[in-house]
């Protein structure tokens, strides 16, 4: 696949600079000026639908959210609170709990990087049936969080798959009920998240491995390095930018894209034990009718995501 190779060689991350601008090599004299004006018009008209759509449906709402965030608004009456709204929120123990849950989800990150790295190494060795294995690992990417959640509920349930597996190996006395426990519900959520992200990260790492310069690893082997040393000292360092990319993508997913998983698996409970910031937005706004607080939480989430993205772009730029 030529294009994946091409993409793979390139540094991960956004380049905000458009590449070498196409120069109009128009004819001489006034014809030139006219065609350039025509080109500029075409450029604007072609990009206008995108600009208008993004401005109306993404940029404007962020502004609105910022405004709403400083009000108390139950859907009918709205009162201006001002910046104090932010300070009040940090005195709310439930909010702190939710923030802590977001932090705890980060504990899953080493696993969600390490396992796909291992799988990618194995697939890269092109063991028998690697194409089938690649498809199998990647398949959950096509499955909705809702269905994954439905399966996960069956897996963790009191009479579910996990417990029957435990009793099958003689550990029946454990009888877990992770989704019913305030602390374990978040762990169950994290494990499900790991399972579903294996495919995406594996694909990222396979691309990375395919783009490596094989001569470095070869040189190390000639110098007598064993396979493990080669991986640790030569291959992993070259993979850093792919690991970073996978890390960012997974954090963004965990913070902003698993609403449906929480909705189906735990509903945020028990006792906010598995509520993350994005789910708290929904709960506040659409269950408690606290639209102002919901908007405020949304703005905080936006700030967190923007922060992560800026760091991502910065770090990659510095590296390039």
């Amino acid at each position: 696949m030529s294009s994946s190779g091409r993409a793979g060689r390139m540094p991960a991350g956004l380049s905000m600079r458009p590449a070498s601008p196409f120069r109009l090599a128009g004819g001489s004299g006034r014809n030139w000026g006219r065609s350039q004006r025509g080109a500029a018009r075409a450029g604007w008209v072609l990009s206008l639908p995108a600009l208008a759509g993004v401005a109306a449906l993404l940029v404007l709402p962020i502004g609105q959210a910022f405004y709403y965030s400083m009000t108390t608004w139950n859907g009918i009456t709205s009162t201006w609170v001002g910046p104090d709204a932010y300070l009040q929120l940090f005195e709310d123990p439930t909010f702190l709990r939710v923030l802590e849950n977001n932090g705890l989800l980060l504990l899953a990150m080493p696993v969600v990087i390490a396992i796909p790295l291992g799988i990618a190494f194995l697939l890269h060795e092109q063991i028998a049936g690697w194409k089938f294995f690649r498809s199998a690992v990647f398949l959950p990417t096509a499955i909705s969080w809702v269905v994954i959640g439905v399966i996960a509920v069956r897996f963790y349930a009191l009479h579910g798959i996990l417990n029957s597996m435990l009793s099958a190996v003689g550990l029946g006395f454990i009888k877990t009920n992770m989704l019913g426990s305030t602390h374990e519900a978040l762990a169950a959520l994290a494990i499900t998240l790991i399972w579903s992200q294996l495919g995406t990260n594996t694909i990222i790492f396979i691309t990375g491995l395919a783009a490596l310069d094989p001569s470095l690893a070869e040189a190390a082997r000639v110098d007598g390095a064993g396979p493990l040393t080669v991986y640790r000292r030569v291959i992993i360092p070259q993979m850093i930018r792919f690991i970073q990319f996978a890390f960012i993508i997974t954090v963004l997913t965990a913070f902003t894209a698993i609403f449906s998983l929480i909705f189906v698996m735990t509903g945020g409970g028990p006792d906010y034990g598995s509520t993350t910031l994005e789910f708290y937005v929904y709960q506040q706004a659409f269950s408690e009718s606290a639209f102002g607080t919901g908007a405020l939480l949304g703005v905080l989430l936006f700030v967190i995501v923007a922060g992560i993205s800026v760091v991502q772009v910065r770090v990659l730029r510095a590296r390039i």
């Binding site: 500029a40 604007w44 609105q64 194409k131 990647f138 937005v281």
Partner: protein, 315 residues
């Protein structure tokens, strides 16, 4: 031992210089002896033996595949049981599928999902192909600024804007219509899709366009006659990525299509799963139903999906 391992490693790297090249699957790959020098040949002969490490790797991957595929097998198997068979363990029947179709508006929901996802995907593809061409191939003032603004919106999380979005969509009177949901889905998909399309167009040579512009062809015609046909592979990638994403979304559907007649299959399934009395095999049948379209798209267009993710890593 380490020396032997080293030699086999060397032999393999000589054998397969490019891992991306089409599959020399497994340990039984054969180098062509005619083309290798004699020391390499002895190494190759050694390599033909299946090494224990390869077996361990293979078994590990089997275990991984079981972990990944068993859940899917489980929902399919369970959907073909009646409530009683599910409780007791054995047997198969179509009872749960019959209950699903008669008690849930599942066919209507599938149709709704299809309408909403296809319209949103069509909008996204057209808009991003146009803008991507403009950003990559046409030079005009303000281009960089607009590009940065649009693409930076990739990082606007849906939960952050869902409340204002809800307010606006109701103000425009398109709440609980397809149009509201389609517009929101399209807007959410556009920034990343434009990023992909711009990346793709930048990778294409300017030669054709320059030649055409010398001939006095307008930018419009170039976009339509040259850009669009050349961009077909990238358009596929965008369409596949967005279709799967929109089909599988819950939040937008949950809030913007609340009528039972308008709701998408993902929403229907989430509500079904939160019902206390729902029969589990029926729920599984619904799950199977809802993942069939994205899985078909996945199986047919897997290559495009993978390319979309790797292209996302950027240029």
């Amino acid at each position: 031992m380490s020396q032997q391992a080293e030699q086999t490693e060397l032999a393999r790297s000589a054998d397969q210089p490019d891992a991306g090249s089409a599959g020399l699957a497994g340990s039984a790959s054969h180098g062509s002896p005619a083309t290798v020098s004699s020391p390499a040949r002895t190494r190759l002969t050694r390599r033909r033996r299946i090494r224990p490490a390869r077996i361990v790797m293979f078994v590990t991957m089997i275990a991984v595949a079981v972990v990944m595929l068993y859940p899917l097998l489980y929902i399919v198997m369970t959907s073909f049981k009646s409530e009683v068979q599910y409780e007791l363990g054995g047997g198969f029947s179509l009872a749960s599928w019959r209950i699903l179709v008669s008690s849930q508006p599942i066919l209507r929901e599938l149709l709704n999902s299809l309408i909403v996802s296809s319209c949103a995907v069509a909008l996204i593809v057209v808009i991003s192909t146009a803008a991507g061409f403009a950003f990559a191939k046409i030079r005009y003032r303000g281009r960089t600024l607009v590009f940065v603004l649009v693409v930076a919106c990739m990082f606007v999380p849906l939960p952050s804007i869902v409340i204002p979005e809800y307010v606006n969509v109701s103000r425009f009177g398109v709440l609980d219509t397809y149009w509201g949901a389609i517009a929101v889905y399209a807007a959410l998909g556009i920034p990343f899709s434009i990023f992909l399309m711009t990346t793709y167009f930048r990778g294409l040579s300017d030669d054709l366009i320059e030649a055409a512009s010398i001939d006095g062809v307008s930018m419009w015609k170039m976009w339509w006659r040259l850009g669009v046909p050349l961009a077909r592979p990238a358009m596929f990638t965008v369409a596949v990525l967005q279709f799967i994403q929109i089909w599988n979304d819950l939040l937008v559907g949950l809030l913007f299509l609340q009528n039972i007649n308008d709701r998408t299959v993902t929403v229907g399934l989430a509500l079904l799963s939160s019902g206390r009395v729902t029969s589990i095999p029926v729920l599984m049948a619904g799950s199977v139903m809802s993942i069939i379209p994205p899985i078909i798209v996945y199986l047919i267009f897997q290559r495009h999906l993978v390319r979309g993710i790797t292209m996302g890593m950027g240029k």
